[in-house]
């Protein structure tokens, strides 16, 4: 296989306690730590391992967003990606448009595999990979926990509600990864220095001539309804009594 394309989305770090802005316009992102979407780090790790096994020649990381996504792409380069593409997307932030961007990049780069996360932990959409596979008319193996490339095929283990499903797909294809696929490597200082010299190209989304998808409007954000504070019991007898009280035993 020639190339692997990996999506790296810049999202609010998973450790941040996200707060809704008081005017309901969104969540607070000022001064909040931003990171690579955790699933995308796993996607990149997997791509790097495939390359290290000799099954791919180049790993390209892609981020669609604003200029600040360069930071996540640089981290990706430091992890070991060969080059990066930033697609400057302005205000656009919907999965179908993202999928169309990836398709346009596929037409330029001809990858054998596109590895994405199973979901971005900001919008929790879980759509982009499936949409891309549909537009590309290629296989999708979603929620993957194991990926074995053999020539022009791959065997993928998927985490599904009843257990594990194993499928075989023809390449090229889209794989979206789940958390248990691997443990991403740590970035070392010398790698960060080296990454500064690796190519990072910026493309304006307008250059890709993409049809803008009908957007879903986000009208208002609110905090989730709070659960009422409960009671502490002293021992098992107290617990059993409390459960009986509620009619649960």
């Amino acid at each position: 296989m020639d190339k692997i394309l990996v999506g790296l989305k810049r999202v609010v770090d998973y450790n941040v306690r996200v707060r809704v802005r008081s005017d309901g316009s969104g969540v607070e992102t000022d001064g909040v730590k931003m990171s690579i979407n955790p699933f995308d780090e796993i996607a990149l790790e997997e791509a790097l391992r495939i390359k290290e096994r000799g099954d791919a020649s180049e790993v390209i990381v892609v981020s669609i967003g604003g200029n600040d996504s360069q930071q996540q792409l640089r981290t990706g380069l430091a992890m070991g990606a060969d080059r990066a593409i930033l697609v400057d997307s302005g205000e656009t932030r919907d999965p179908l448009t993202y999928a169309r961007v990836f398709l346009a990049l596929i037409e330029r780069e001809n990858p054998g595999l596109v590895i994405l996360g199973k979901q971005a932990i900001d919008d929790d959409n879980s759509q982009t990979g499936q949409m891309l596979a549909a537009l590309w008319d290629r296989p999708q193996a979603t929620f993957a926990s194991k990926l074995e490339v053999n020539g022009d095929k791959a065997t993928v283990t998927r985490e599904v509600d009843v257990g594990l499903e194993i499928v075989e797909i023809d390449l090229p294809a889209v794989v979206t990864v789940d958390l248990r696929m691997n443990e991403p490597r740590y970035v070392k200082l010398p790698d960060i220095m080296k990454a500064k010299k690796k190519p990072l190209d910026t493309i304006d989304i307008a250059e890709l001539n993409i049809e803008q998808a009908p957007a879903i409007k986000e009208v208002n954000f609110e905090p989730p309804s709070d659960r009422e504070k409960g009671v502490l019991v002293d021992d098992v007898a107290g617990l059993v009594a409390a459960l009986k009280d509620k009619g649960l035993l």
Partner: protein
């Protein structure tokens, strides 16, 4: 008038309860006419079962030998082929629906509304984002079809007192063969299903081993409960992946949820926020799980759990 098409989830000739929950969600759209489509190699039993769901006017059978396994790339074009005349297409937010529905949406040229938790109108919905830390109200364009997944934990199944008509249709689209099902490694089915059980007992990293997790199974069996786990317990290999509860596992809404040796990370809590009563057993009184627990007991699970099991047996 809104016309909603629901894509049925099923296995082994039986409907998955998620379909009845999608029907309940669709019923919240004012004046909606609801149809269900079943893609299968032999849909007769499932179609008969789904025809009894209250609120469903018509069940559409699509039988094709290529549907013997659920492969999204194979099913999506078939779903698209029957969407003519519908204003909405819904599927469950289970791994089945999450895999299939965005593929359908892309073929129809629209974005998807993921995880509907509340219907406000035919084109207005609430959905959770940021692992449930925020709820957003979204509006979909009124001039295009709405494709959505339904957060099944937000709905109670539609009852079974309906009587829908059943029609079979044939679709002659060329279906891809680039994706081949090899094998399903399903967990054991000798305990109540995690997603529908009235009581669920979950264990976390604190259990420390596969052997110790037996404590959780024994308590669950004494309560007739389903068994879940935190991601840490799954990652450590104490239990299989299908038991994970949370943002990236299962979103559940049992009447009673008992979290044992689980700290209560936000990604775990998002999976249980609709539970009726949450019980937490943890030796750390400061653990975040106690902020959401209705009943908390601070102490060592290795002494508490056997005692509790005795008390409820």
């Amino acid at each position: 008038m809104p016309k909603v098409l629901i894509v049925a989830e099923h296995a082994d000739g039986k409907a998955n309860p998620s379909t009845a929950k999608c029907v309940a969600c669709a019923s919240a759209i004012p004046d909606a006419e609801i149809h269900v489509v079943v893609l299968s190699d032999d849909s007769e039993n499932v179609a008969n079962e789904l025809a009894t769901l209250a609120g469903v006017a018509r069940v559409i059978r699509v039988d094709n030998s290529q549907n013997s396994n659920t492969i999204a790339a194979v099913q999506a074009p078939q779903v698209v082929a029957v969407t003519d005349g519908y204003s909405h297409v819904f599927g469950p937010s289970t791994t089945f629906g999450k895999d299939l529905m965005p593929r359908v949406a892309a073929l129809l040229g629209v974005n998807q509304v993921s995880d509907i938790m509340e219907v406000l109108g035919s084109h207005s919905f609430k959905r959770p984002v940021y692992a449930g830390n925020a709820v957003v109200t979204v509006e979909t364009p009124s001039d295009s079809i709405v494709v959505a997944t339904v957060r099944v934990a937000s709905y109670r199944s539609a009852p079974n007192d309906g009587d829908a008509t059943i029609d079979a249709v044939t679709i002659d689209a060329e279906l891809p063969v680039h994706t081949r099902f090899l094998e399903l490694q399903a967990g054991s089915a000798d305990r109540p299903d995690l997603q529908t059980a009235a009581t669920v007992v979950s264990g976390g990293r604190a259990l420390g081993s596969t052997e110790s997790f037996d404590l959780i199974y024994k308590l669950a069996d004494a309560l007739g409960a389903g068994v879940g786990a935190s991601r840490a317990a799954v990652d450590a290999g104490y239990v299989p992946n299908e038991m994970q509860v949370g943002q990236t596992g299962k979103i559940i809404a049992p009447d009673l949820y008992i979290a044992i040796g689980i700290s209560g990370a936000i990604q775990h809590l998002t999976g249980i926020k609709d539970a009726g009563t949450i019980v937490a057993i943890n030796k750390d009184g400061e653990a975040p799980i106690f902020e959401v627990a209705d009943i908390g007991l601070v102490g060592d699970l290795f002494t508490i759990v056997p005692e509790l099991q005795d008390a409820v047996s």
